[in-house]
């Protein structure tokens, strides 16, 4: 797993549950804007992850060194999933295939968010992580 993701997990698991929600809100604001060409695809409805109840869109780029660059787009008024997207992009932008493979599918539990988020979010996030791995492997 990437060192950046380890750090974020430490940050979240080290504080009280209510504080975790505030951290998640911070990360929702850190989710970078999509590059224009992906923004257009998102508006056209492409790239959607259907397991998430909130519209979430994902693309994965690879640079010349084989490093992975995930791009995640989230509908407006959906800060919870935007927060998860913000964490994933922050932690995994520029990661290697090995680092991506090591991301746990129960990331929500590792972050200590499973008790404060809805069960359906947990499933959605697992689907997002799963899709990220699959798409990077293509």
């Amino acid at each position: 797993m990437s060192a950046a993701l380890d750090e974020i997990i430490d940050l979240f698991s080290g504080v009280e549950p209510q504080m975790r929600l505030e951290l998640l809100l911070d990360y929702s604001r850190k989710l970078p804007k999509l590059p224009d060409h992906y923004q257009k695809l998102m508006e056209a409805g492409a790239g959607r992850i259907h397991e998430c109840m909130t519209p979430v869109f994902l693309w994965v780029d690879r640079d010349d060194e084989g490093r992975i660059h995930p791009h995640i787009g989230v509908a407006e008024e959906a800060p919870t999933i935007a927060g998860i997207g913000g964490i994933l992009v922050k932690a995994l932008d520029g990661c290697t295939q090995e680092e991506l493979d090591a991301v746990p599918s129960n990331l929500v539990e590792k972050l200590g968010l499973h008790k404060v988020l809805r069960m359906n979010r947990t499933v959605g996030v697992a689907a997002l992580v799963g899709r990220l791995k699959k798409q990077a492997a293509l």
């Binding site: 929600l21 505030e22 998640l24 809100l25 929702s28 259907h50 397991e51 998430c52 109840m53 909130t54 008024e77 959906a78 800060p79 919870t80 927060g83 404060v116 988020l117 809805r118 069960m119 359906n120 947990t122 499933v123």
Partner: protein, 282 residues
Amino acid sequence: MSNEYTHPEMLVSTAWVDEHRSDTKNIRIVESDEDVLLYDTGHVPESVKIDWIDDLNDPIVRDYISHERFAALCAKNGIGNDTTVVFYGDKSNWWACYALWVFKLFGHENCRIMDGGRKKWMDENRAVSTEKPTYAQRDYVAQPQDRSIRAFRDEVRHHIERKGQLVDVRSPEEFSGEKTHMPDYPQEGVLRGGHIPGASNVPWSRAVDEDGTFKNRAGLEALYLQEQGLKSDEPMVAYCRIGERSSHTWFVLKYLLGFKNVQNYDGSWTEWGNSVGLPIEK
């Protein structure tokens, strides 16, 4: 005035809320959302948040909180028995209607829905704040549950034996049994797909227009009365998967169309479709 709702007073407009929101002595504005973080990103400045899981559902037993806990929830938010509570939220007021239903269950008299919900407020660029207001504690006396608006499994069973009318507000795929969960909620599955025998299928969101406000009376009558042939003077039960989407339809039928006797079956399909021996239809 054939296009007027039966109880137009149950709805207030965003403009009305804007005009009256500073009257915090008599009015409490409550945001209830699906997204647990949404309130924190900004809300109607005077509003408090009430969460459908954390605040209204018992953490252990599958049931609502006790009436003592409900009283404490109101008291903490500065809601007295005479306070007018205005609910609004995301997703066309889906969760706001659910919170209103629970407030009605505990006998709170003056409840309103802000028509168009959070989306309309934001689209109109009205005032938004991230500060969480607090209000002086009030005394609150909760009533025993008003069972006339809540149906239990065995009552629903008797209701279908009498060929009573039911409305299933889930998606057509859930109704037909093709899917055992809502399109985007794969974890809330059941062992059997289908619907309660005799139910009509009117997905809840058909009751709202594009902008999130409720359809006008003619539009609602066309849907429930003409298209589905439901009768407003006969007993009616609404259900979905856990009783939240159907509280939206319950609100529409009871207050906007004036159905005389509507109950929300909160056990809904996650109870019915998992129960041994109950009849279903596909």
